[in-house]
Amino acid sequence: MSNSTDIIRAGLKKRYAREKRFRFFGIVSLLISFAFLLVLLFTIVNKGWPAFQQTYVKLDVELSEDLLKVNKDSDEDALYSANYSKVVKKSLQKMFPGVKGRKQKRALKNIVSNSAAYDIRDKVIENPDLLGTTQSYWFLAKDDIDVFMKGKIDRHLPEDERRIKDYQFVWIDKLIEEDRLEKRFNTVLFSNGDSREPEQSGLKGAIMGSLYTMLVTLLLSFPIAVAAAAYLEEFAPQNNKWVDMIEININNLAAVPSIVFGLLGLAIYINYFGVPRSTPLIGGLVLTLMTLPTIIIASRAAIKSVPPSIKEAAVGLGASKVQVLFQHTLPLAMPGILTGTIIGMAQALGETAPLLMIGMVAFVAEVPNGILDPATVMPVQIYLWSDSPERAFTERTSAAIMVLLAFLVAMNLIAILLRKKFERRW
């Protein structure tokens, strides 16, 4: 053995230590990334989980004809405009007699959400015979009560540091004792639009808004992207300046910050063409431009992977280029195109920034019924709720994130399944 062998042998230990260290760094950085992901998901789920439950209060409401100033024979308009919050107040006062002072009286009223009055109204209109009777109903509890019932308010804190005061605890304790407080599955979250009152706010408006926006995006971007991809792959002349320019533009569009698309939407669509702001239409128009590059790039890859032998066979049988495209290439490339489309739509579904520019950030309580109604979308709703000071909105924000993530996971799963199912090796 030569001299150099000994030298090498002497250095080996150190080199292997370095090797181990390097490998360790690799594992650590991977684990750090995973840890971030886990912490993120855990935080969201942990915060958002309680929002799928909501506290309800049972009240015995006396539907007094005197108090409401209507009777069974009143017409629907009169029934509609009667002051039902009075009977709610009355029933609370009856349960907790002797509440003094404006502040305390208001606090008492704030045990139930102000939606209680509307609930009673709907019931009375449906069945006017209820007037004059006493009924017990479950009503939505006010957000503070809900937050307390979910254990987020510590009653051992000094009184001025918590949202619920001592006298309110007396009421709450009594309600709990009489089994008048109950947590149920939060259907409001999925059946209501946005609201200023946390306990009445729901995601339905945002979900429908997202749906309409995605519909516009899909209807515009899918045909355009497929046509563009098919042209670039099958018809475009090689080494043509114009075609190069199109390709460069597609690549760059994919990397333009999303907020710039918002500026485009504001300056061109809204200010120039007068597209109504805050609507799924304008949202879809803007998101189309952002989704196009994704779908075009995916579609081109899918079209490219269709073997030329099939196309040549069809051409050999006398089919024109357009016929080959529609009868062979596109059907064979469709799984890949659809996968790309779903991924593009998932990106669009999570996009927020450009929509802020085009008025989709407005407060919209109504559930939209078409692409021209004012609407917001899920990510923007998340942004809006996260900005609200009420404590109860924090958990609703997390719940909304969970719903959004569920949609995204579902879309990606479909994409993966589609790819698995139709994956073809030529």
Binding site: R15, Y16, R18, F22, R23, F25, G26, I27, V28, S29, L30, I32, S33, F34, V39, L40, T43, I44, K47, P223, A227, A228, Y231, F235, M245, I246, N249, I250, N251, N252, L253, A255, V256, P257, S258, I259, V260, G262, L263, L264, A267, I268, N271, G274, L289, S320, V322, L349, G350, E351, T352, A353, L356, M357, V380, Y383, S386, D387, I401, L408
Partner: protein, 462 residues
């Protein structure tokens, strides 16, 4: 007829013309020798008739809808008295808005000002005429097109070629939308920016160190002009992006190296998609996480070791943004590392190098251009990122490079300036477009350089 009804009628008409064309082609060909005489299959004649009926009508409908408002408005303005027409653009816009609302509300009679009453009812009348004319013209054009094409049909007509030609042109147009949108972006930010720079000199914008766009309502108030020095925004953007890259580049690069060089197949199959989940999470979620969890955590951590950390610190936003772009860096690095030929690795192993020595001294230097390109793309992503900074970074345009303080960024200011109700023409909103122009130019340059480097790098090993 409202636009929706026009569209539905039009669709029905198109379906009808398709069948009409098909029938006609069969009819004309069976006169001599039956169907075999036709140049194209019958359904191509159907498509051709539908195209003739549809395309001109749809084009007219689109153009009409797009320009209807501006034409009607300018016609209305021209009937206003001279004195009102010559007032400033802003107040004219106000008047027009008022007239529109008046006309839409249907309460013109309640308006006190007779000039406005007159103008509003004029506006209403014009809109009515326009609507009627639109319906009639669109449907008549569709019918004429249908009849014209119907008369064209004879067995020698090359219907398939016509249809295919239209399809090809449509495809080219679709491909050109990519160019159109770039042009649209450039125009939208450029024109508004030029208007902004008419009010605020570019040197003030580019080199000014004070940013306070709050213009006051009364002109005699202090600071009424606002100051638009964008340096603090650029510095803030740079600070947060740098923090993000400092976190994302080592973590992403090392993850990519581990996954491509060390990890077993099964680990890779699990870890790669998991890492990519980070890229699929919407940015608004990261923003929420940054504002609600990371920022308070950092503040408390700082407190416990005696540092004062702002509750909207640049560090929190940068950190979370860094996490967001980890998968971006790692997947791009993974690509370029895999592109390094196996011969390089063999050469190094064959000399007795360990794996890490090979990676550090051969693979990384060889992949460096590609990695740099990837980092530039990640940087452009970080600079343009909006939601995380909107939710987690502050609004205070402080000129600092201390990551523990609150800073603001270009994107945050664009959002702040453009959300909420304000006149579109104020320097405040126009400033947002100037910032957008800056953002667009910077990210465009970064992308072009990055893509160029990556392409050169790929060519090297092909």
């Amino acid at each position: 007829m409202p636009t929706q009804t026009i569209i539905i009628t039009l669709i029905a008409l198109l379906i009808f013309s398709y069948f009409l064309g098909q029938k006609r082609s069969i009819a004309v060909s069976s006169i001599n020798n039956g169907r075999r005489d036709l140049h194209s299959r019958p359904h191509y004649y159907g498509y051709m008739v539908a195209i003739w009926a549809g395309i001109p009508a749809v084009l007219i409908l689109l153009l009409w809808t797009a320009f209807n408002n501006s034409i009607v408005t300018s016609l209305t303005i021209s009937t206003l008295p001279e004195s009102m027409q010559t007032q400033s653009k802003d107040s004219l816009g106000l008047v027009v808005n008022e007239l529109r609302n008046l006309a839409d509300s249907g309460q013109i009679a309640d308006e006190a000002d007779p000039i406005k009453r007159e103008a509003a009812s004029h506006y209403q009348r014009l809109q009515g005429i326009s609507k009627l004319a639109k319906t009639v013209i669109v449907l008549v054009v569709a019918l004429l097109g249908m009849i014209y094409a119907w008369r064209l049909i004879n067995p020698e007509l090359r219907a398939r070629n016509v249809v295919e030609k239209v399809i090809r042109v449509a495809m080219i147009l679709c491909a050109c939308i990519a160019i159109l949108s770039t042009v649209g972006i450039v125009f939208s930010v450029l024109f508004e920016s030029i208007r902004f720079f008419e009010a605020v000199p570019p040197s003030d914008f580019l080199f000014g160190t004070k940013w306070s766009p709050q213009t006051s309502i009364r002109s005699d108030q202090v600071g009424s002009s606002g100051s638009f020095g964008a340096i603090p925004l650029f510095v803030g953007t740079l600070l947060i992006s740098t923090i993000a890259l400092v976190i994302a580049v080592p973590l992403g690069l090392m993850s990519a190296i581990y996954l491509s060089e060390y990890a077993s197949k099964s680990v890779r199959a699990f870890a790669k998609p998991t890492l990519e989940i980070l890229a699929g999470i919407p940015t608004v979620v990261y923003g929420f996480f940054a504002a609600l969890t990371v920022a308070p955590f950092l503040r408390d951590l700082g407190e416990s070791i005696g540092l004062s950390v702002a509750s909207e610190s640049a560090l929190a936003a940068g950190l979370v943004m860094g996490i967001m772009i980890i998968p971006f860096v790692s997947s791009l690095s993974d690509d370029v590392i895999s592109a390094v030929p196996q011969a390089m690795r063999d050469g190094s192993y064959g000399m007795g190098a360990t794996k890490s020595e090979t990676i550090r001294q051969v693979i990384i230097p060889a992949a460096l251009p590609g990695i740099v390109g990837g980092i530039l793309l990640a940087a452009s992503r970080a600079i343009g990122e909006t939601m995380i900074v909107v939710m987690a970074a502050g609004l205070s345009a402080k000129l600092t490079i201390n990551p523990l303080e609150a800073v603001t960024t270009v994107t945050v200011q664009i959002v702040t300036l453009l959300t909420g109700d304000q006149e579109f023409d104020s320097p405040k909103t126009l400033a947002a477009f100037a910032l957008g122009l800056g953002l667009f130019v910077i990210t465009l340059l970064l992308n072009i350089v990055a893509l160029h480097i990556i392409r050169k790098y790929r060519e090297q090993y092909e």
